[in-house]
Amino acid sequence: MTAVLEIEGLQKSYRSRRRGTRNALDGFDMRVEAGQVHGFLGPNGSGKTTTLRTLLGLIRPDDGRMRLLGHEVPADLSAVAGQVGAIVESPQFFPHFTARETLSLLATAGEVRSTRIDEVLELVGLRDRSRERVKTYSLGMKQRLAVASALLKEPRLLILDEPANGLDPGGIREMRALMRNLSETGTTVLLSSHILAEVQLICDSVTIISLGRRVAFGPVEKVLAAHSAGTVRVRLETVADLPEASEALTRAGFRVTREPDHLLLSGVEEAAMVTRLLAGQGLYVSELVWIDGDLESVFLDLTATAPAPGQSRQVDQSAKPAAVGQRSTGGWGA
């Protein structure tokens, strides 16, 4: 398949006299195939928005290579900008302009035919409210307007950063249908979102980023299969034994998530290893069930951002990618 977006070894650091150097992107790789809906996932502060901004020429990278629709960027960004529609982070517009004026100004600047304005307004459901000032819009309506502005160019690649933010359930479903339709007509969609169930539902492939590096990528089913295998739910005879069991299993190298009445273990190859280990400690298993992973649990596991009882996780507390990452050794984002 043809790649429409390729990133290799992307690096971006922010230097501060007070806080030293922070690597926002630390050799990040990515590849998005044409015609797909590709999910781009990562915890807060992991580098998603930095990646998108760098790709779109808003941030200057320190190192790495990027290609959009076969063109090197940022050097050749002008050649492809007309084919890439994007919304990055929260939609922001002049509050005193109407939606129609906002789109009309963009259409004039981008030399887009004026009839396209009505088409995109219809598409995002703002047709009847298009002559109202943006300041009267709800967050969801502004989000729709942002999507409309990104669609104005009839893009070959659509980059959407949290497009469902502020949308009502009906809006989320419409957005899902819209992305599917666009994908079917050949538009590639790169979707950055925290609504993982949504991503699992509509994306063909995903890239997961943590601390500026890719920790997982590929078709959704393969990522799920590769990273959710070996997850078991363990119940003990008495709930009071859970802390002791958790410590013993962690010492043995399992990744343990404590729940109020059970433990979730990942990285388990054989169930017998668990029962044997716990029995050796005088802890007796009452239930041991293999569970199918979903994208959310895979994400939490890979990025180590699952909430732990009694602990407040800080923004930069994510998985160290070197331990689980799959760095490419050559080729575009491969």
């Binding site: 002008s78 900008a81 929260s90 004039t108």
Partner: protein, 337 residues
């Protein structure tokens, strides 16, 4: 070209542009109406009336002087030596007739040749203020609302986008400034025709006014570029407005006080308004009055320093290069978040 058209349309659609324009024009209209109402046409009847009034005032003054001298002589005869009268009553004499000129009793009248040049400074000041505020807001609000980022997603040429925006701003302001200045010329010609005089308007006088008007328009454009550049550097309208207030209040006022305390010569030469004045009036002559203090009994012949519009043009050019150049450099180099 399409980007330029879009930016020009955005400029016209903006509320601040409209309000600032309306407000600026309202202030200028108020000035023109005030001048119209406070001046009168001087005809022969008005001149004759003024002659009579001057004669009456002089006669009244003569009568009062005569009465006072009579009182003085009576007091001298009584041997009164109070301070109320001079020792020699013959010193009391009526004022000469020419002290009471009929001109003093004429209504104010608008002399186009003598007064119009001064009014052009008001136009330039208002246009410069409108230019600075609209210019800084035009780009500052874009940064503030994320509009600049959106535009760069469509046209990823940073400096081109910035300069196209500036070109649209200058086009709009030039149209406003030229129209306003021409209306100003027309209004005051009308005022002079109906409430004053247009005598003495030679080709040279017209040329001088035209050049002053041109310098006023240029000043407005420069102010717009400076506001635009400062707001772009700070990525916020407040950067330009705050910077302007800072320079004027702290820089200029503070510097003025400091230089006065240190007894520096030609303090005004360090203050920006002096250069604006020199720009509009072609030159400003500064005098160092401290030399008069050194010799209080002799004739005051202070040292002078002449600042011309050429000095100001150098200063404006340096400011433009520094601020607009800095804004372009920052636009090119800094990340956009």
């Amino acid at each position: 070209m399409s980007l330029y058209r879009a930016e020009l349309r955005r400029l016209v659609l903006r509320r601040l542009t409209r309000w600032a324009t309306v407000l600026g024009l309202a202030v200028l209209a108020t000035v023109a109406i005030g001048v119209f109402l406070s001046n009168q046409k001087i005809d022969d009847a008005a001149r004759a009336k003024a002659e009579v009034a001057a004669e009456e005032h002089w006669q009244q003054q003569v009568r009062q002087t005569e009465e006072f001298r009579a009182e003085c002589e009576q007091a001298a005869a009584r041997g009164d030596q109070s301070d109320r009268f001079p020792p020699d009553c013959s010193q009391i004499s009526p004022p000469p007739r020419d002290v009471y000129s009929p001109d003093q009793f004429l209504s104010s009248t608008f002399d186009f040749r003598a007064s119009f040049g001064g009014t052009l400074i008001a136009v330039a000041a208002i246009l410069a203020l409108v230019g600075f505020v609209v210019g800084s807001s035009f780009v500052g609000a874009e940064w503030n609302t994320g509009g600049m980022m959106t535009m760069l997603l469509w046209r990823p040429k940073r400096v081109t986008v910035l300069l196209t925006k500036l070109a649209a701003l200058l086009t709009g302001l030039l149209a406003l400034a030229v129209t306003t200045t021409m209306l100003w010329f027309g209004s005051f010609w009308l005022i002079a025709t109906t409430r004053g005089t247009t005598e003495g308007m030679t080709a040279g006088a017209w040329q001088s006014f035209a050049l002053t008007g041109l310098r006023g328009v240029t000043l407005a454009l420069v102010a717009a570029v400076l506001g635009f550049g400062l707001a772009s550097l700070g990525r916020h309208t407040a950067m330009a407005l705050g910077g302007a207030v800072g320079v004027m209040v702290v820089g200029q006022f503070g510097l003025g006080v400091l230089l006065s305390l240190t007894g520096a010569k030609f303090v005004e030469a360090w203050l920006l308004p002096t250069y604006v004045q020199a720009w509009m009036q072609k030159e400003v002559v500064l005098r160092d009055w401290q030399t008069c203090r050194v010799n209080p009994f002799g004739q005051c012949d202070p040292e002078t320093l002449t600042l011309t519009w050429q000095h100001t043009s150098g200063l404006l050019a340096a400011g433009l290069v520094l601020i607009l150049g800095g804004a372009c450099w920052a636009m090119r180099r800094r990340d956009i978040s």
